[in-house]
């Protein structure tokens, strides 16, 4: 009940027909944390955010946000949280300023009164304040939506995939803004399918098909990768990939940027020897210029190592999906 936690969820479960969107999910988030849920479509991110935002009732389990129960205390809670849904949900025919004024009035306040709170973001939107929301770029739409979610001065922000489909520059600017708001003590819970954005968070939960695979700081998550990882570069990536798939010692191999990432299945072999042997193997299979070097695992490598089969493959193997 005390506020040593901003969000605590215990055994949250939600089904839609035969689909289990959330399967017994538990976690807690500290006040002032920037916490990320990282995972692909279908991981259950949106369902989780709707429950935390009091818009959906779980089938089982409980969640408390800012000390209030998301089912029983919804009216207390709604004025204290700012929720930005995944789909653009502002009024396309209203101007930037009209949208913001509307959301302020719903919560009984005005732009003028809240100006200081929203200034870091509204100052970027003000040059376009008479433009219809529909005519904004993707990045600017997201900034306006964030501004509208902040205008009633919430203590906690729930941002569901705010950077999906937005270009890399706008994504970076959006995360810079979140950093600004975090320093004011706001708790920020955000979801994203972009693995590289994990590093912007204090802690992250990796989510996949209704389950949490891991919760920790980004650094601790990548440190948990349990074996040396190697980058394999050659002039023929496609053939190298197929060759390493046939290599007896391969634990995993997959394309990663301009290289392949390769891990060896043996636990008792020194990294230098692993690199030498993999390189020799590729040489024997017609790839003379393979260069095998040690590399640091990323969040994405860790996610791949922990996620098991991709969606549907259990069905493909004949097991029930």
């Amino acid at each position: 009940m005390s506020e040593s936690t901003a969000v605590v969820a215990q055994g949250l479960t939600k089904r839609f027909d035969t689909t289990v969107a959330l399967d017994n999910v538990s976690f807690s988030i500290a006040p002032g944390e920037l916490f990320g849920f990282i995972g692909p479509d279908g991981a259950g991110k949106t369902t989780l955010f709707r429950i935390l935002a009091t818009l959906l009732i779980p089938d089982a389990g409980q969640a408390r946000v800012l000390g209030s129960d998301v089912v029983k205390d919804l009216w207390t809670l709604r004025s204290q949280i700012g929720y930005m849904p995944g789909r653009f949900s502002l009024y396309p025919d209203l101007s930037v300023e009209e949208n913001l004024r509307f959301f302020a009035s719903v919560f009984g306040t005005t732009i003028e009164r809240e100006y200081k709170q929203i200034a870091p973001i509204y100052s970027q939107l003000e040059p376009f304040k008479t433009r219809r929301a529909a005519a904004l770029s993707g990045g600017m739409k997201q900034k306006l939506a964030l501004c509208c979610a902040l205008v009633h001065r919430p203590r906690l922000l729930l941002l569901d995939e705010p950077t999906t489909g937005v270009d890399a520059v706008s994504r970076r600017e959006f995360w810079d803004l979140l950093g600004t708001f975090k320093t004011s003590g706001l708790t920020i819970v955000v979801s994203t399918p972009y693995m590289d954005e994990a590093n912007r968070c204090d802690r992250v939960a990796l989510v996949q098909r209704g389950h949490i695979l891991a919760v920790d700081t980004p650094r601790a998550i990548t440190a948990s990768f349990d074996r040396p990882l190697f980058a394999v570069r050659s002039s023929n990536r496609y053939d190298s990939l197929h060759a390493l798939r046939e290599y007896a010692n391969t634990k995993s191999v997959y394309p990663f940027g301009e290289a392949l990432h390769f891990a060896d299945a043996r636990d008792d072999v020194a990294p230098e020897q692993i690199a030498r042997e993999a390189s020799a193997f590729l040489g024997e299979h017609g790839i003379a210029d393979a260069n095998v070097t040690r590399t640091d695992p990323t969040i994405e490598d860790t996610f791949i190592a922990r996620m098991g089969a991709p969606e549907g493959e259990d069905r493909q193997r004949g097991a029930r999906g």
Partner: protein, 264 residues
């Protein structure tokens, strides 16, 4: 990565899948695409990058014969984009994340529909459908509606459907949004396979790490191509570790040309 890579001087016109020279498109006073010149070789995986509003979509609409250029020239699979739009449409495939498949039709019906649109014979449609389903491992869901299969399967199916009429070039518009990292890699392997068989691939993406999967990339900023080359070359020239860094450096609207379009 592919054995067929040649230096620019070796590449002959016959090997060029796309050739654009000073290609330009204006809308009233606004120049969406501003004298872009580039070439894509047959069998290449070419990444076409740019911030939202940089002009990528307008450029692709011109290259696919859907929009007339205001200036400059381009040929796609040897056809002039101004005069031979219909010939271009037969020689290209197009896949976008959102609009490629009909959700209420089954997997098999979607394939048959596209086969019909491209005038394939009944035998061709049957043969290619069977081969495609086997290659993708989707035989067990061929009678399921597309909305009932996982997103990653849909994306692989959408790519295969775009290749059904055996085009020379396939345009992929943000093909991999939203899938898990393993499925995303399986999709890229399909792209490699496609290029390996000689089909040229032009792909747009917001995942900057995916740019590094391409043989060559271009980065559009405010209607122009500001960088073009292999990912390794571009990173080395700019002294950066990732394409993401280079992209942000070029495209961040900080008083440059891009500033005029901020918010557009």
């Amino acid at each position: 990565m592919h054995p067929k890579v040649k230096t620019d001087s070796e590449a002959r016109v016959a090997d060029l899948a796309i050739q654009a020279r000073d290609l330009t498109r204006t809308f009233g006073a606004f120049t969406a695409v501003d004298h872009i010149t580039f070439e894509v070789r047959a069998g290449e995986v070419f990444g076409f990058l740019g911030a939202n509003g940089a002009g990528k979509t307008t450029a692709i609409r011109m290259l696919t014969g859907l929009l007339a250029p205001s200036g400059g020239d381009a040929t796609v699979a040897g056809h002039d984009v101004r005069r031979e739009g219909e010939a271009i449409k037969r020689d290209i495939g197009y896949m976008s994340q959102r609009f490629s498949l009909y959700d209420d039709l089954t997997v098999r019906e979607n394939i048959q529909l596209y086969g019909g649109i491209y005038d394939l014979s009944g035998t061709e449609i049957r043969d290619r459908t069977q081969r495609m389903l086997a290659r993708l491992g989707l035989e067990h869901v061929e009678r399921e509606p597309v909305h009932a299969i996982p997103l990653g399967w849909k994306q692989k199916l959408a790519l295969s459907v775009a290749l059904l009429h055996e085009p020379k070039i396939v345009f992929l518009d943000e093909p991999t949004s939203g899938v898990d990292p393993i499925t995303r890699r399986q999709f890229w392997e399909l792209i490699y396979e496609t290029a390996h068989t000689g089909t040229t691939v032009l792909v747009t993406t917001h995942y900057m790490d995916e740019a590094e999967y391409c043989d060559r990339i271009s980065i559009m900023v405010a209607g122009r191509i500001d960088a073009m080359g292999t990912p390794a070359e571009l990173k080395q020239q700019a002294g950066v570790d990732s394409i993401d860094e280079l992209f942000v450096r070029l495209a961040r609207p900080a008083g440059g040309r891009a500033a005029q379009q901020a918010g557009a």
